[in-house]
Symmetry: C2
DNA sequence: TACTATAAGTGACATAATGTCATATGTCAA
DNA sequence: TTGACATATGACATTATGTCACTTATAGTA
């Protein structure tokens, strides 16, 4: 989490800093990113950066969490719109994230995020920060999903189902973005795998 | 790939260097690893390192590929031993990798690999280097697997099935290692998810 | 208004990392 | 012995990171 001083910043300065960080993290991965470039773009001195953020990661995960928050809201909305159809809701999120990764303009942030996806990044994406939050959100989803359609009989089984779905969704995203699939190709692959998932892998 | 000079090294020097690298990559992740530490341990000058490897990654992926090669052989053996039962063979590999991640002695290499798993690392793990190799290996597996038991009707569907299985297997490994699960807990989780995968997610 | 405590801003600096290159050394065949 | 080639070496240029002593701003108080 950024330090309080960051949140105390006036909007202009804050936005300029956030944009500078986003540009740098769009250029390269978290590990290759250079704080010096962010400073240059944001026109702030080195000391100030450390006044606002603990380090490079802190700034990166701030941006990522902002994005993840949006995706979570989308997911909940989709779940409602599709009457609890988990797979349709997930497919919409998949599409959205994939489209973000295709923005060729100023921001390749999501593309870089996906191509360097690891446990910590996935975690930031799917859960949000606190243990409490995770359980709370999981429960929200559990309430909204149409369980009748699913092959699970309790919350624990549903947890496993979600783990599988998340694994396959991210794996697809990363694979398709890394291999520069078109949106149609990516969606085809994802839908094929979802369909196999639904019907089961064995006879 | 390491440079030819590396392979020309006499065994003593080569082993010392490889061990030095393994120790460093066991201490921290690829990105945090310091070449200086490898040099100190291997007692070679800086210039020599770059005579043998292109960079830090080069050394890291050399070690990883060695390991992945072993796992691939295991997998093929298991597939034969279990008469083409894909799930049993995969569960054995899962167990083995998990056990490697638990080695508390000199080497936490696999633990660090799993905890920093990303696309590139997964790729090194599952495929080996060349496109040709990937297709070749995939075909080998396709020949060995008992297709009768599976819910797929052609090689393309089998490809999707393997993608799912790989996604879920790695996701489990990373999750269980990151959260310090015991071997029993990890195996329980994996088996639960495999069972859900087999029977299908929807009714 | 002047004073003071607290927060925020600043950039030079210590430290450590990476990759390169000119130079030195070793090896082997003619 | 010589020359061509491969290998070895460590000083160096460059670029990072995170800290700290010091300055400046702000807001509450006498």
């Amino acid at each position: 989490m950024p330090k309080q001083t960051f949140f105390n910043l006036n909007d202009d300065k804050k936005n300029k800093l956030v944009e500078a960080a986003r540009e740098e993290f769009s250029r390269v991965s978290l590990y290759e990113a250079s704080i010096a470039n962010i400073l240059k773009r944001a026109e702030i001195p080195r000391g100030s950066f450390y006044q606002y953020f603990r380090d490079k990661e802190d700034a990166f995960f701030y941006l990522l969490n902002e994005h993840a928050e949006e995706r979570h809201k989308n997911f909940i909305e989709n779940l409602k719109a599709f009457n609890g159809d988990l797979f349709q809701a997930m497919t919409e999120v998949y599409k959205t994230v994939f489209q973000f990764s295709r923005e060729n303009g100023n921001s390749n942030f999501i593309r870089n995020v996906l191509m360097n996806m690891n446990y910590k990044i996935e975690h930031a994406f799917t859960k949000n920060l606190t243990k409490q939050n995770i359980e709370h959100r999981f429960h929200d989803i559990y309430q909204l999903v149409d369980m009748e359609a699913l092959h699970v009989s309790n919350e624990k089984e549903f947890y496993h189902l979600m783990q599988i779905l998340i694994a396959v969704t991210f794996h697809n995203l990363v694979h398709c973005v890394s291999n520069e699939f078109s949106e149609t190709e990516a969606l085809d692959k994802y839908i094929s795998e979802l369909s196999l998932l639904k019907k089961g892998l064995v006879k």
